[in-house]
Amino acid sequence: MVAVIPAFRILSSGLTESSRLRWNLPLGSLFVQIDPISAVFLIPILGLSAVAAIYGAEYLSVHREKRNLGVPWFFYNLLVIGMMLVVVARNGVLFLVAWEIMSLASFFLVTFEYERQTVCQASYIYLFAMHIGTAFLIAFFILLGCRAGSLDFDKVPPMSSSLAGVLFLLAVVGFGTKAGFMPLHVWLPYAHPAAPSHVSAVMSGVMIKTGIYGLVRALTILGAPPAWWCWLLITIGAVSGILGVLFALAQHDLKRLLAYHSVENIGIITMGLGVGLLGVNMNSPTLAVLGFAGGLFHVVNHAVFKGLLFLGAGTVLRSTGTGHIDLLGGIIKRMPWTGFTFLIGSMAISGLPPLNGFVSEFLIYLGAFKAGLTGGPEAVISALIVIGGIALIGGLALACFTKAFGVVFLGVPRSSHAEQAQEGGWGMKSSLVILAALCILLGVLSPLVVKSAANVVSEITSLPLEEVRTELSTVSTVLTHVVVASLILLGAIVFSIIVRKRLLSGRCVRQAVTWDCGYAEPSSRMQYTATSFAQPLTDLFGLFLRTRKSISPPKGIFPGESTLDTETADICEKYVYQPAFKRISSALSRLRWLQHGRLQVYVLYIALTLWILLIWKLM
């Protein structure tokens, strides 16, 4: 069952092979095709699914006696197949079916531990969000189909700008729900923590990327973009990025935190796409190439490091039994492998050189700066948004992951949970190590990787391949310099290590308690908690976060128990969706007097209906 998935890897080598089978589905044809775009998304899907499967094999083993593990694995494979089908489908209906299979499979995986109340709620929200998204997609595809006469993607005629605009909006909402754009992201922080960790890794790592894929595909279908599309994408990206990382900063639960970071990274990717689209719109190939290459590269990178982080979090969760950050601490000594790999992942997601996260953000930056150089005022403004946005996101992400890693893995244990931590088995460790290695490799080999993106970008932007090649070669020379710099970094570090060894050789190196400014005995409860660590920033952006504090301050000369706890509800959920749903339901419940049990009135309805109709027709 587990070994099945790597077997699929062969697929991702193919460049453009298509097959169109006759299929009697009403309004559908089984038309699949693998082109570079699909391949780019297919590779992470297969890779990450394989690694996560290796991990999951061990992760789920604790449930073995409790329930039948065939079911989750069945849905796991269904999920993988669904995702593959989504990226290779070239027919609207086939796409929708694959899309729903994917959503449904992941839904059932989320509900793996269905006895827990939180899981029920999460699964409900997830199902609902998916369905809303799908509704928009249905509208999108049917509208497309009615224009084209066929639902095959390659038969779409050029269309009027207004219609294209409508379609674009439909696509943004429909795919954005899956990808987790900021107003539509509500399901993520519920579904990801609820699912088993390897599943959340796959969901967050690759499944939400299918939303991005759909968007890219839609862009290729819809033809030349007007300027407002770019601005829309860039704005959405900036908003999702910044708010995503802010909410992540305010979380106490490790996996919830990671889920919000998915929103953030989707934001970065979207900004990349926006920049690329801007390039297409201003027909400056450099911009287009940088933007799209950056965006897609970030798709791959995010798959790698987010998968790594979720798996790491899973190991912590499984061995300590809690995901609450403030209950953990000091477990790097007990689980060194996990700790190290998680550190790599945190560095990558904070976009620190020389890891892969940096490279893709670097490309997007570069694009933005180029836009700032060349374009007119609106280009400058979008450049400003992107640069400022990513810079702020970078800073905040750094804060967030110093918090996550520092508080969870460093220091001394804050509770008995953290003390009982122990390292996972080989299956888990090996998958972590693989992903961590990938983080480093993708960073160091970035020049080569970027070169390979040529025909993807030309596919999306419909620029001539040669032009894209030349652009990419310049980019990759830049990246080689980056690599050189990181080599210097490595050298410097190694050098300083040697120096330190030399200096310390033969001198006394003692162990002592932490310098505690004269306190007698520092206990683990004196440590700085994650909440307080994030507090300056959460206060600074309190406007968006609306963190609810409940304080009972210490009173009296000999203060007794005093508590402070903070809880940050999702702003969109709390201030947009819940009121809306309340309003709808109250409006509809007005209709309920219709059925209040009086037979006579029921008969009256019929008579009245008839009379009304008769009068309507005879007048």
């Binding site: 000091g330 790097i332 550190l343 976009g351 620190l352 050189p353 940096f358 670097f362 930056y365 570069l366 700066f369 700032g372 150089l373 400058v380 403004i381 450049a383 400003l384 640069i387 400022g388 810079a391 970078g394 800073g395 992951f401 110093t402 520092g406 460093l410 220091g411 020379t477 830049v478 310099h481 980056v482 050189v484 710099a485 210097i488 490595l490 050298g491 410097a492 570090i493 050098f495 300083s496 330190r500 200096l503 310390l504 001198r507 190196v509 003692r510 162990q511 002592a512 308690v513 932490t514 310098w515 400014c517 520092p522 004196m526 440590q527 700085y528 660590f533 300056p536 920033l537 600074l540």
Partner: protein
């Protein structure tokens, strides 16, 4: 030959960095009417520290040890990216300043982790302030550089500096002033100088950077001090590179001009430190956001 030429600049930086601290201290002493410590005191300190033993907290892990080393490495690498006067940078490419900023980020990342590794509440406090302020100063710096890039129409530090000439100043004067101020604020914040932080306060509650390194000792602490000095020097280089349009063809004149400006900068910092009081911590974010606004203004004001 060229590679040697390119190597001169970083090496020079590595050597001369602590001097700035010396100058600053001298200036402050001068303002205070003291003779003050000798100019080369920072070198002595570092030397002394390098030859001490070390004490490690029991709660720390290998991260605590790795921190200073990686910080030093990152900063040294950053030194390879910035030209000085006529001396070209060791490595130069499009968007090198992005790498620069993120290298600082890398070193900060590990400093903060070290602080958290000790498990001391004071160091955690310092760490949290550090990340807060840096998260705000990064946009200021990058947008400011974007403005410079726009009016020089280059996106590599070396080329930017080469093309900020006296007449470009005449053309973009106000913008460059805005950017200059923004960068100055960033410099002060990043190096924990007054008005953001007071390097020689002794109350842990008010410290930011100093408090994070309370537990380091011996060579590690030496590395940290040196890294701080180097960082000061590098940011100074950037500021000077943008602010000083001495571009006569003659390398000696240009380089010495920049050198003089560095000294001046140090003196200015010293002056600021001795003339201003430290801001309340709550006001620091406002200062940094102000810097960001300056940069944004600079970028938007640039006509095309």
């Amino acid at each position: 030959m060229t590679i040697v030429l390119r190597l001169i600049n970083p090496i020079f930086g590595l050597v001369a960095a602590p001097l700035l601290l010396g100058i600053i201290n001298k200036t402050k002493a001068g303002f205070a009417g003291r003779t003050g410590q000798p100019l080369l005191q920072p070198y002595y300190d570092i030397w002394k520290l390098l030859h001490k033993g070390a004490v490690y907290s029991r709660s720390t892990s290998w991260v605590f040890v790795a921190g200073p080393l990686i910080g030093l490495g990152a900063t040294v690498t950053a030194a390879a990216l910035i030209p000085f006067g006529a001396l070209p940078a060791l490595v130069m490419f499009q968007g090198d300043f992005i790498l620069l900023v993120y290298l600082f980020g890398l070193s900060r990342f590990f400093t903060v982790l070290c602080a958290l590794d000790t498990g001391s509440s004071f160091e955690g406090m310092g760490a949290s302030r550090e990340v807060t302020f840096s998260a705000l100063s990064e946009p200021a710096m990058l947008i400011g550089l974007a403005a410079v890039a726009r009016h020089t129409s280059y996106i590599s530090l070396s080329q930017m500096f080469l093309s900020t000439t006296s007449d470009s100043w005449l053309e973009w004067g106000p913008v460059s002033v805005l950017v200059g101020f923004a960068l100055l604020i960033v410099l002060l914040a990043e190096n924990c100088r007054i008005p953001v932080d007071d390097p020689n306060t002794h109350l842990e509650l008010t410290m930011i950077h100093e408090v994070m390194v309370l537990d380091h000792g011996g060579p590690d602490f030496g590395f940290i001090l040196y890294t701080a000095a180097l960082k000061m020097w590098l940011l100074g280089q950037i500021l000077v590179g943008i602010a000083v349009p001495v571009r006569s063809g003659n390398p000696w004149i240009d380089t010495s001009a920049s050198l003089i400006c560095m000294v001046l900068l140090a003196i200015v910092v010293g002056a600021i430190e001795s003339s201003m009081a430290r801001l309340k911590l709550l006001h620091v974010p406002q200062l940094l956001v102000g810097a960001t606004t300056l940069s944004i203004l600079a970028l938007v004001l640039l006509p095309r």
